[in-house]
Structure formats: C-alpha cells, structure tokens
C-alpha cells in the first residue's frame, strides 16, 4: 500500500516537472519578464488613482478594487525607467500575495507560458536594474529570453516599502506617543 502511494507521488512529481510551471509574461521597456501565475489575481485597466502622502515615488497611489484599497506600483519607475503613461490603455497586473493585494503597472502583458526546469538557467549579473535576490533565473523559450522574477518576495521586501515592518523610504513620523 505504501509503496504504491510513494510511486504515485513520484510519478506526479515527475509529471509536474515535465509539465513545468506557468508564468505570466509581460514587457517593460525592452525586456520581457515572467512571474509565477499563482501570484496573479487579475489583469485590468488602470482606474483613477489617489495619491498617498509620503509614498515612495514608484508607488503611484491607490485604487478602489471592488471595495478594497489597493496600492499600485509603477514597475517602470522601479526598474529605473521613466514613469508609465496612465491612460485608457494602461495595464495593471493585480497580485495577491498572502492575502495582500497590490497592483503593478507594466507596458504590456503578452501571454502565459509554461517553462520547465531545464528551460531556466541562473542569471547572476545580467540584470542591472533588479536586485539579484529577486531574480529566479533566466527563462528561454522559442528564442525569447524572459527575466523570471520572484515577485512575491520582492513585493514583501523592504525595497518596495509596502509593509509596516519595512522601514519607509521617506522620512516617517516617528513621534509615537
């Protein structure tokens, strides 16, 4: 009985590896990036944003997402480019990471691709604008090169300053009486 279950599990794992992981692919500037599809809640156009006082430059503001207040990160600015254009064609990828919802503005969303382990290789110094901690690797498929981001870790990190336990970038009111 136990052997049969173990075999079944091993089979499933092998199948998963053979099948690979799904990534949402989007474009910013001249590069293509990929993130784990499981972090993506939805993709939508950009609603009017409300600026939040004291937010870092790349957090453009918050939007009303069916009653929840969701911050929006301008990924272009984060990657050192000029800010995105905010019009009817702006695309926002809404991420849900451990029940915290955050939106990120990208240039264009291409598609969802499946990458297997052997399609991915490490990418230590290739990406200048992103801290290597947040890069999972470089994916290659059909001649395209995708920079795979650990978007969940990145959004939770101090770098994004989206969380209270992260020290803010701007001068924060520390007068806690």
């Amino acid at each position: 009985m136990r052997t049969a279950t173990a075999t079944l599990r091993a089979d499933r794992q092998a199948a998963a590896e053979a099948q690979g992981h799904e990534y949402l692919v989007f474009t910013i500037g001249a590069e293509e990036y990929g993130i784990d599809i499981m972090t993506v809640q939805e993709i939508r156009g950009c609603d009017p944003m409300t600026r939040i006082a004291g937010a870092p430059k790349f957090v453009r503001g918050v939007i009303n997402l069916r009653g929840d207040i969701v911050p929006v990160v301008d990924m272009r600015m984060k990657l050192g480019l000029e800010s995105a254009r905010y019009d009817a064609f702006t695309v926002v990828i809404v991420l849900n990471i451990e029940n915290r919802v955050v939106g990120m503005v990208v240039d264009r969303v291409s598609d969802v691709l499946t990458l297997r382990d052997h399609d991915i290789r490490p990418a230590p110094d290739l990406v200048a604008s992103v801290d290597t901690r947040h890069v999972l690797g470089l994916g290659t498929l059909d001649g395209r090169m995708l920079i795979l981001l650990d978007i969940a870790a990145w959004m939770a990190s101090d770098d994004m300053a989206l969380r209270d336990d992260a020290p803010a970038l701007a001068d924060v009111d520390t007068s806690h009486e």
Binding site: M49, I69, D173, E177
Partner: protein, 640 residues
C-alpha cells in the same frame, strides 16, 4: 462524580464539540457569581443571591464533569459545598469567606480562560480547593448526617443479580457506600440472588427506595437487625428565577462580512444617486422617488446591521466594582463605585480596545486620586472615596467619564515637573493645557511610586490608545475636590460622518466628530508668529493653521502662496485646536471607513480611506496625529 480527562464521556468523543458552548456558558455563570459575591453584605446576606450563586456553581460543576475538566469540577465542588453550608445556615458568612469564594471564582475563570485561549498554567487546583476548605475552618464537610450519631443498624439486602446491570450496580454500591459500610455476603442460598450487608444510620425505607429505583420491588428484600428513629429529610433547595435570554450566537467573522456587504451597498447606492442626480427631475420623477425609497431602506438596513455589533458598556463596567474593592483594600483605602449609563452601547471592536485604558484610569483614580480614610475625614469628606464611571451618547459619539472625589491635581506640581523635563510652560497657560501635560510620556505626579500603576507609565499610553481609536481624551480637575477624565469615541469604526475637503486638486475627509466649524477666513484673522508659523485668531486664542497641502506634500500645491488661506476647518482633538487650511469644502456625507493598511503601510496623519460616490479613493485624516505633530514641531511642518 467527576471522571478524569481520559475517561469522561465528552472529553474526546463526539460530544467534545459542545465544549466551546460550555466555556461560554461557564464564563457567564462566573460573571454572575462575581457580581453577586461583590454585592453581598456578609452581615445580612440575601438568600436569593446565595441561591443564585449556588445554582451557577452547580451548573459549572455538572457540565465541567462532562468534558473531563476535573480541575474545574473539583474547585466548583468545593465552592458548592461551601455555598451549600452557607445556604443551610451551617456556617455564617463573613468577608473572609466571600474573599475565599471570589478567589475560587478567579481560579475557575483562569482555568476556563486557559482552555479557551491557551496561555499560562493557572494555580494548582488542589491548592485552591485546600484554601477553600481552610476558609471555613473545616466546618463545611458535605451533607450533614443525622443530628446526633444515631444508632447504627445493620441491614441485610437480598437482590436478584440479573435485575440490575453492571453500571447501575456500581452506582448503587457507591451510593450505599455514602450511607455507611457495605459488604458482600458470600454464599447465598439461591444462586440467582446476591446478599449485601449494610451498616448505616439510614432508614430501611430509604435503602429500599434506592433499590426499587433500579429494579422491580419484587427483586429485592431487606431485613433489619435493629430499629432506630429515621433521620429527618433536609429541606430541598429553593431555586431562584433567572432571566431567560433569547439570543443566537453568531461568529464575529460573519457579522463583519455582513457589515462589509452593507457598506458596499451604501457605496453602490451613493454612486447610483449621483448618476441619477444628473437626470431631469421632472422627466424622471418616479425614478427619483424610488431612489429615495431605496436610500431610506438602505439607511435602515445599515443602522440595523451596525447595531448587531453594538454591545452595552456594562460588559466593560462590570469589572470595576470588584477591581476597586480589591485595589482599595490592597492600598488600605476605602472606595466605592457608582456606575451610570451601562446600557449605553458601543461597537464590539471598540469595547475590546477601550477596556485597558479605562482600567488604567480607574486604577489611577484609586491609587492617586482617592485619599486615605484619615485624610478624607479630616477634610470633611465621606470615609469612602467615590469613583464614578459613566457613559452616554452624544451625536455620533460615546462619552465615557471616569471621575473621583479625591485630592485632584496640583497645578504647580505639574508645571514644575514639566519644566524639569524641559517642557516650556507659560505661567498664564490655561488649566486645560496644564492638565494635558500629564499625558506626556514619562510623566507621573505620584510622590510615592506604587506597584499599582507603575512608574509614570500609562497616561500617555492611554491617550495613544484612545487616539488610535479615533477618539479624544480630556481631563479636568479641581484641587481638593477631585478629577474627571473624559473619553470621546466614535460609536463605530466602520462608518463615520465626514466633511470632504479639497486640498489643491486632491480630496480628503475630515471626521465630523472633531469639527468645531468650517468657514472662510478673513485675512485680518490671520497672523504670523515667530516660532509658531501662521495662526488664526479664534475668539480669544491663537489657533495654529495647518496647510494640509504642505502637510501631505501635495505636488500641485507647490509654488502656491503659503500665507494665502481661504477656507479653514476648525477642529478640536485631545484638547488641542487646529485650523486646517483647505481650498474648498465639498460637502458632508456618511463614509464607509476602509483600511489602508490591509494592503499598504500605515500613513502618518491618515486614519483610513473611503470610497467616494464616484468610485475614487479619498483619505481620512487622523486629527490626533496631525495635532500631535503640530504641537511637537511648534508649527505646521510637513509630515513627509
């Protein structure tokens, strides 16, 4: 009859699901017990109260046994025995006994709490039981036997073995064992019969009834060897009527979800209203009327739903009589509590958060406010200090007041202490401002630091707690007469009345509860004071002007004339007044408060956000934080 944890019927099995209900019920019984015990007069105890306490303990004992909570059952048993003796008049009640019972109640509560929420292990139950037994001097020792040691008789009982099953027999033997000594007599004449010899002072009829309860009369024969007068029956318990409660338990998560959904409904309806407002009223009259109906219904629904989370302040106030009693005894003072408005309701979430601050204030009142008896008498005051705790509604707020008739605050001492700490205080400062100094961190006017309220700890924490709930705190005092602390809180955190204001091209919401007035400002009312920036003259004081556009670094306001100021919203928070400079007033409305920090950080100066009728987000001001910052900086500087 209590089983140990492993063998109790409900401890692991299918009945364990009811344990939660029992814990809730037990908590209610404990609250009743404590309330009655604290209110009891040992010299002339109210027998109804005694019986009510007895019944509460009895309930706990019975139910706890079901779940294998042997520790709780044991303590409850001791309490029950004690109460039973008091009830029958076997022992007289005194303050020491009441204290012992209160400790017993605490012990049970601690164990219930541990089972419900986990946490530190409470006191060893054996010690608690021992203490209870000692409290009566060992006098209470269970149901009394006959008055004088009656002559012991020996009964021979013959019963048909098959007439009783093993469990029932076990119970019966245990029962007989309580009445005297039982032995099994071997070698009965008839193999189907068993013989017991029972040495007891109980009458034969009682024994016979016990047997006949579990088997046919024909299956048992009893023979006596000595005749004695039967022991008299003790009076049966007199029960006290208790108020029936019609209620349903609902999980908090469900209620919150319901409140959220109603909030969404309110927003949708507001958006609908806005669109419909653009239509020609004459052409669309029926539509407008139906919208008015919808708004009325939605408002009604909202009120009903919000009221679900409202609980009476009694849930908070109930603990104070006991607290004051224990604390004043510990400090060697006398103090009593008067409570007013305990039926005033407040949102459950706020109630939970206001408990600690209120406890702190009450402890302060007893510790620092109320004088020792001798001092009070010398001043012609009543022996016992009075602590008054009151709550009432005012507009969309609740006002809670803790006041005492003690020694009051000494202005000079406070001013001196403040200056010592480097806080500048002008001699002409108003009393209200001087009192608010004691809310600064590290401030304590206690000459003697007792372990009760801690070393200068607390009033600043209390103020912080209150502020974080969107409320404000005010203190007033008269030397020699007493001190009064008032806390104002919004009734609920979920929905709030606000005034929308335009700040450059952004919109913010000012909580209506803090607004004194809002109007245009005449240039003659404005003044620039060195070290304080722009101030506005309001009646007889200078109120700092805070430019919200500067405070929040609104980009579109850069380059504008900082001294120009058209509209102000005059607010008051925590005894401080501010004039918020804005571009325009956009209208008053009820807003649904949304959390900003569910997905983002906490933002200084911002209490939350809301969704406007056009679907966009607006931030709600945290007046207390803005006031604090302004006070600290000596002028309106940017929070960023």
């Amino acid at each position: 009859m209590t089983g140990d944890a492993s063998s109790s019927p409900a401890s692991g099995g299918e009945l364990a699901r009811f344990a939660g209900d029992f814990l809730d019920e037990a908590a209610e019984h404990l609250a009743t017990m404590e309330h009655l015990l604290v209110g009891i007069d040992p010299a002339a105890p109210d027998s109804d109260a005694i019986n009510a306490i007895f019944r509460a303990v009895h309930s706990i004992k019975g139910a706890s046994g079901m779940f294998g909570f042997a520790d709780i059952a044991a303590i409850a048993h001791e309490l029950e025995t004690l109460l039973d003796s008091v009830r029958r008049g076997d022992i007289a009640l005194d303050a020491g006994l009441v204290d012992a019972m209160l400790h017993g109640t605490d012990a049970v509560r601690a164990r219930i709490g541990q089972r419900a929420h986990g946490g530190a292990s409470p006191e060893d139950p054996a010690e608690v039981c021992e203490r209870l037994r000692r409290a009566t001097g060992g006098r209470a020792s269970g149901p009394p036997r006959g008055a004088a040691p009656a002559a012991v008789r020996v009964l021979e009982v013959e019963y048909r073995a098959q007439a009783i099953d093993a469990d029932a027999l076990r119970e019966l033997l245990a029962q007989l064992g309580e009445l005297g000594t039982v032995e099994l007599v071997p070698g009965a004449a008839d193999a189907s019969m068993r013989t017991l010899r029972l040495s007891t002072d109980t009458h034969q009829d009682v024994v016979r009834t016990l047997f006949e309860f579990v088997m046919d009369a024909g299956d048992v024969h009893i023979r006596e060897t000595a005749a004695v007068a039967p022991a008299p029956n003790p009076p049966l318990a007199r029960s006290v009527p208790s108020a029936a409660q019609e209620s349903i338990r609902v999980g908090v998560a469900k209620v919150d979800r319901l409140i959220n959904q109603v909030g969404e409904l309110v927003i949708s309806q507001a958006m609908l209203a806005q669109r419909i407002a653009e239509l020609d009223p004459v052409e669309h009259l029926p539509l407008l009327q139906q919208l008015a109906d919808l708004q009325r219904n939605t408002r009604g629904l909202q009120d009903s739903v919000m009221s679900i989370r409202m609980l009476p302040m009694a849930t908070v106030f109930a603990r104070f009589p006991r607290l004051v009693r224990d604390l004043s005894a510990k400090l060697g003072k006398e103090a009593r509590v008067e409570i007013e408005g305990e039926t005033t309701e407040l949102d459950k979430g706020l109630i939970e958060k206001i408990v600690d601050p209120l406890v702190h204030l009450v402890r302060n009142a007893v510790d620092h406010g109320i004088e020792p008896v001798a001092e009070r008498v010398a001043q012609g005051k009543p022996r016992a200090g009075l602590i008054r705790i009151a709550a009432r509604h005012q507009g969309g707020n609740i006002l809670i007041e803790v006041s005492d008739d003690g020694r009051g605050l000494c202005r000079d001492t406070i001013v001196a202490k403040a200056r010592e700490r480097g806080i500048a205080v002008s001699d002409g400062a108003k009393d209200r401002e001087v009192w608010s100094l004691i809310f600064e961190p590290g401030f304590s006017t206690a000459d003697v630091i007792t372990d009760v309220s801690g070393r200068g700890v607390g009033l600043d924490v209390v103020k912080g707690n209150v502020a974080s709930l969107g409320g404000s705190i005010l203190l007033d005092s008269v030397r020699g007469a007493g001190t009064s602390v008032g806390i104002r809180l919004p009734l609920t955190l979920a929905i709030m009345d606000g005034l929308a204001v335009a700040v450059a091209d952004e919109r913010y919401i000012v909580p209506l509860a803090g607004i004194i007035e809002s109007r245009q400002v005449r240039p003659s009312e404005l003044r620039t004071i060195v070290g304080h920036g722009l101030v506005m003259e309001v009646r007889d004081e200078f109120v700092p002007v805070v430019r919200l556009s500067t405070l929040f670094g609104v980009p579109s306001s850069a380059g504008r004339d900082a001294t120009k100021c058209d509209m102000v919203v005059l607010v008051e928070t925590e005894g401080t007044r501010l004039a918020l400079a804005v571009e325009d007033l956009l209208g008053q409305s009820q807003v649904v408060v949304k959390s900003l920090d569910a997905n983002y950080r906490r933002v200084p100066g911002i209490a939350g956000a809301t969704i406007m009728s056009d679907g966009s987000v607006a931030c709600i001001l945290d007046l207390a934080a803005i006031a604090r910052r302004t006070r600290l900086e000596g002028g309106p500087r940017s929070l960023q």
